[in-house]
Each structure stands twice: as structure tokens, then as C-alpha cells.
């Protein structure tokens, strides 16, 4: 019996760019079935082998076609396209609103209401990011699951930020554009949120680095936003204490909450991923009930 998998590996050079093992297994199964069918119909082994090889006249072209079909992502559906634009506009609008309202001479009567539109856009932004990642790598199912962990982390962190700060220090919430995350209940919640983010990422079979980013993403992104806003505060606003306040805010909003998130994530960073034992794709899916494909 020819080794069809090996034959395909030799002829498909370079191999298809995604899910190579799965494709090779499926194609080799097809060749093997074709070969056996020819033998059953009385063909001599050598003739059957040659006729089986006739199934593919140009391996390079086949490889390119498979790669192309697997790379070009199905746009899922038109709703996603529309959502993507809506999300981008909502995110941009909400961010601009935050920038405008965060002028130091403004006071906010109700910070929760002020943050609500922004919070509401976060899951959509995560979904959009997941979709873009999916476009780049159509077979990466982790992304579908990973965006949940990032969203949970984000929402948890921000809700703890807004709600608990309001309970602990209402006067601070009313005066500061970015609330301080120091109070202990807030930090304790952040530890739980970091743990939840890392755990969900682990369940999604994400590598350690991705788990770390998912768990600490609120602090990381806030740090990036603050860094981007810093030149504006210094050059455009000419705010004399910009650097000092940047350092204080960085400590309050990035370093301390980041450490709390990291602390919660730690137990899930040292463990292997939930599905880390090697399973060939076919075996992994062979456990489906036999009725799974029935209508």
C-alpha cells in the first residue's frame, strides 16, 4: 500500500498555508479510497497507482488553489460588514467624546452615564478586532473564543473602575477625568477580573503570552492611550503639569491596576493550555456523535 500522506507531502511543496495536516489527511484519504476502489474493480496495483495519480495533474496549481480558498476569508455575512463600519464610527465618536469631555475645566455630574456609551462599544470593538484577526487567519478558531476573554476582562475592569470608585470616593469620581483605581475593593475586583481573563484565554488554548495580554489588556490599552495623549497635553494644551500628572495617572491607572490584573492572571500563566495535549485534528473530531451530521 503506497504511503499517500508522504506522497502528498512530497508533491505539495510548499504545502498549503493553513491547516496543512488536515488538508493532507483528507486528500490522502481520498487517494487511498480511489486506489482501493480501483483494486476492487480488478485493476492491477501498478495500474491502480498510476490512475490514482491522474487525479491531480498539477500539484502546484492544486496547492495554490487550496491556499487561496483557505486564506480568503468568508466575509461571514453582510451584517458583519455593516457592523464593522458601525463599530468603527461608534468607537471613534465615543473616543472623541471622551477626549473633549476630559478637559480639566469640566465637571461631570454623573460619571457612569458619561462612560456608558464608551463601555457599550468595547465588546463591539473586541468583536471587530476578532473579526479582523479571523480575516488574517481564517482557521484560527481560538480568536472566536479569545475575544470573549478580552471582553470579559475589559468590562469587568471598567465596571470595577466606575462603580467601585463611585462607592469609595464619589468626590474623586466627580473631579478627575480618569478615576483612580487604588481603593482596595476595586483592586480586589481587578485581581478576579485578571484571573477570569487569563482563565478564559487558557480555555481558548491561547499561548502564555496571549493569556498575559488578554488578562492585562485594560491597563495596557489605557497606557497606550495615555502615551498617545501625552504629546497633545504638552504641546497643544501647554499644560504645565502634564508630565507630573501623566506619571501619577500612569501609576494609578496603568501600573497598579496592571499589577492587580497580573496577580489574578498568574496561576493561569504557569499552567499549560487546557487542550495542550497533541491531538491530530481527525482524532479530535472523531469523538463527535455519529448523529452529528444528520439533519
Amino acid at each position: 500500500m503506497p504511503d499517500w500522506q508522504e506522497l502528498i507531502r512530497q508533491r505539495m511543496q510548499p504545502p498549503p498555508v493553513t491547516q496543512t495536516d488536515e488538508v493532507i489527511e483528507e486528500l490522502s484519504t481520498h487517494l487511498e479510497e480511489t486506489y482501493n476502489d480501483l483494486l476492487d474493480r480488478g485493476c492491477a496495483p501498478q495500474a491502480a497507482f498510476e490512475r490514482t495519480l491522474d487525479e491531480v495533474d498539477d500539484w502546484d496549481a492544486l496547492c495554490k488553489r487550496i491556499s487561496r480558498t483557505r486564506l480568503r476569508r468568508n466575509p461571514m455575512n453582510d451584517r458583519i460588514k455593516r457592523w464593522w463600519l458601525l463599530v468603527a464610527v461608534a468607537w471613534l465618536g465615543a473616543s472623541l467624546l471622551v477626549m473633549v469631555l476630559q478637559r480639566p475645566d469640566r465637571l461631570y455630574p454623573n460619571l457612569i452615564l458619561f462612560y456608558l456609551p464608551w463601555l457599550a462599544t468595547l465588546p463591539l470593538v473586541c468583536a471587530a478586532a476578532a473579526y479582523l484577526e479571523q480575516c488574517a487567519n481564517p482557521t484560527n478558531d481560538r480568536v472566536k473564543r479569545l475575544w470573549l476573554s478580552v471582553t470579559v476582562t475589559w468590562l469587568g475592569a471598567n465596571l470595577s473602575l466606575v462603580v467601585l470608585e463611585r462607592i469609595d470616593h464619589p468626590e474623586l469620581v466627580l473631579r478627575r477625568p480618569i478615576p483612580v483605581w487604588f481603593p482596595l475593593p476595586g483592586l480586589a475586583t481587578l485581581i478576579l477580573v485578571g484571573a477570569a481573563g487569563a482563565y478564559l484565554a487558557q480555555r481558548a488554548d491561547a499561548p502564555r503570552k496571549t493569556r498575559l495580554v488578554a488578562a492585562t489588556s485594560p491597563a495596557l490599552l489605557l497606557g497606550i492611550v495615555m502615551l498617545l495623549l501625552l504629546p497633545w497635553r504638552v504641546v497643544v494644551d501647554r499644560y504645565p503639569w502634564a508630565l507630573t500628572f501623566f506619571a501619577i495617572d500612569a501609576e494609578n491607572c496603568v501600573v497598579v491596576p496592571g499589577l492587580a490584573l497580573l496577580l489574578g492572571a498568574l496561576p493561569f500563566l504557569w499552567q499549560g493550555s487546557a487542550n495542550s495535549f497533541p491531538l491530530p485534528t481527525s482524532d479530535a473530531n472523531a469523538s463527535m456523535p455519529s448523529t452529528a451530521l444528520q439533519e
Binding site: E26, H30, V56, D57, I66, R68, R73, N285, Q294
Partner: protein, 116 residues
């Protein structure tokens, strides 16, 4: 002109291939080899899928969400990737059938194909 002919043929082959696969999967889930075999047998060999023509089309249809492939062990314990029609594929089938019916009627009107 030869290029245009080739393009038209390619589109016809592709369209007919999609219709054949969707039609046969509408009856039951099948794996690749069985899809090719059944289409060949039921069309008396007029439509013949090779590995090179079948799988890129299947993957493309899977990408469009018309079919869904899943590995599953058969009764002998052998793993095969079975394809089934999705609801989107089922919705795609009716207009595709209508398109081809219209196409053949048009050809028939023009060239009397059905009596040829």
C-alpha cells in the same frame, strides 16, 4: 478569444460543480470520495470530479458557509471528513437550480439543445 472561451468554460464548470455538490449533499452528508463517486455514477460519467477539481471547490463552498465539513469516524472506525449542507447552502440551492434551468431553456430556445 481563446481566453474568454476558457473563462466561460471555467465558470460553467464551476457553477455546475457547485450545483452538483449542493444537490447531492441536500440528500445526505457525504465525504469527498463518496461525493465524487456518486456524482459520477448518477450522471453516467458525464460529470466527473477528480481530487484536484473537487476539494478546492468544497473548501470554497465551506468558506462561503454553504457546506460544513467535520471529521467523523465511520462504522469501521475510519476517519473521514463528512460534508453536510448548511441552511445557507440550502437557501443557495433553489436559486442556483433556477439559474441553470433558465440557462438551459435559453440554450434550448437558441440552439435546440434538448433535441440535439
Amino acid at each position: 478569444m481563446p481566453n474568454m472561451t476558457k473563462r466561460i468554460r471555467s465558470k460553467i464548470a464551476r457553477g455546475s460543480g457547485e450545483l452538483a455538490i449542493l444537490s447531492i449533499l441536500a440528500e445526505q452528508p457525504l465525504y469527498g470520495f463518496e461525493i465524487a463517486k456518486q456524482i459520477g455514477e448518477r450522471t453516467g460519467g458525464a460529470l466527473k470530479f477528480t481530487l484536484a477539481s473537487l476539494y478546492p471547490l468544497l473548501y470554497d463552498m465551506e468558506k462561503h458557509g454553504w457546506v460544513e465539513g467535520r471529521w467523523q469516524a465511520n462504522h469501521a472506525g475510519r476517519d473521514r471528513r463528512y460534508y453536510r449542507l448548511t441552511p445557507a447552502g440550502r437557501r443557495q440551492l433553489a436559486p442556483l437550480r433556477q439559474e441553470w434551468r433558465t440557462f438551459f431553456q435559453a440554450l434550448d430556445t437558441l440552439a435546440g439543445v434538448s433535441h440535439a
